[in-house]
């Protein structure tokens, strides 16, 4: 992890704390980053050095406007406008880890084919906390490629219970 990534993550954390909406900003940045990672066209547009910064920022504002806090939009716009869109996932992950670490928690990125309700997220967080013996916060990404079940990544640990994973295992045995 570079010092620049750390710097952006620390700055975002400071802004979120100053706004007093750390959890909501975490969710906004997490969701936008997962969308950014999963959409090739968006990723190519925001990382295109030939595209003017104002145009990149307007794309971010179009996508996030009304769906996210202004502070979240401003943070993503600042990163994209500075030409650091390619480092966005790393910056946001560091930001999430730092925020969770402040609460003595760790972030579990969970991928699911369908959205999880509050109860499921709470029970999943409790189960992951019990399994890893750490306080875990769950961030859910809806990913149809999972097919069914869940995939949780906590740091370097991946707990894969997806149908996709089972099919891949089956493929290996054929």
């Amino acid at each position: 992890m570079s010092s620049r990534t750390e710097g952006y993550a620390d700055a975002a954390l400071a802004v979120a704390r100053a706004e007093g909406q750390l959890a909501a900003i975490e969710d906004d940045l997490f969701r936008f980053t997962r969308t950014f990672e999963g959409n090739d066209s968006l990723r190519m547009a925001l990382t295109d050095p030939a595209m003017p910064a104002a145009r990149r920022i307007s794309v971010v504002e179009e996508l996030m406007g009304g769906k996210a806090l202004p502070a979240s939009t401003a943070l993503i716009s600042a990163i994209v406008g500075a030409g650091r869109a390619s480092e966005l996932p790393e910056i946001v992950n560091t930001f999430l880890e730092k925020a969770a670490s402040e609460r003595d928690h760790e972030v579990a990125e969970v991928r699911s084919a369908i959205p999880l309700d509050e109860s499921q997220q709470e029970r999943l967080a409790a189960a992951l906390s019990q399994a890893t013996r750490k306080q875990v916060e769950v961030k859910v990404v809806v990913d149809a490629s999972v097919l069914g079940g869940l995939v949780a990544r906590i740091g370097d640990t991946v707990i894969d219970g997806s149908v996709r994973h089972r099919l891949e295992q089956l493929k290996g045995t054929i």
Binding site: I114, L116, G148, G149
Partner: protein, 183 residues
């Protein structure tokens, strides 16, 4: 002596009156004998040494020529022997060279045959390996395609059969399994 002979001859000439046509006169015989002796003496005194020397020279020359001829013949014989020996050596050398050339040619022929056989064997082995590898690749490709198609088919079946209730059940199972394990 000569005067006595002359006197005797004169007296004898007085006594003989008729001469015989076959037998010469005594004085002729005497004079003839004297002339013969004179000629003999002169020849013996002057000519004989020259004749003898000439004969000796001739003899020496002939002897020298014979010796020279003998020497030349001997030398010729020796040279002939030398040439014959050289010829024999040359024949031996030629035979040896031919034999060596034949052996070298035989060695080269055997090497070429061995190399050709080795090359042919290598080509056969390589071709066999290539065929085997291609067969294995084809089999692996077929297996991979069968595997991909099977998984693709399974995915479609799973997608069609994974209704919301099943999805929720899978999520619940995951939560229960993860909650029951310690890492």
């Amino acid at each position: 002596m000569l005067a006595q002979i002359f006197v005797l001859a004169a007296e004898a000439g007085e006594k003989v009156e008729a001469s015989n046509p076959i037998i010469p006169e005594i004085d002729e015989m005497i004079w003839g004998a004297i002339a013969f002796v004179i000629v003999f003496v002169l020849l013996r005194w002057k000519a004989w040494p020259a004749i003898k020397k000439s004969l000796q020279d001739r003899e020496d020359k002939i002897t020298g020529d014979l010796e020279h001829a003998e020497s030349v013949r001997t030398q010729a014989d020796e040279e002939l022997k030398g040439y014959q020996a050289q010829l024999a050596d040359a024949r031996n050398d030629a035979g040896q060279i031919i034999e060596e050339a034949r052996q070298a040619a035989e060695t080269v022929r055997k090497d070429l045959i061995a190399r050709a056989e080795a090359d042919a064997q290598a080509i056969r082995t390589r071709a066999s390996d290539d065929i085997k590898a291609a067969s294995e690749r084809a089999m692996a490709d077929v297996q991979a395609k069968v595997s991909d198609l099977s998984i693709e088919l399974a995915e479609r079946i799973v997608q069609q059969n994974l209704d919301r209730a099943t999805q929720i059940q899978l999520i619940e199972n995951y939560i229960n399994e993860v909650g029951g394990t310690r890492r």
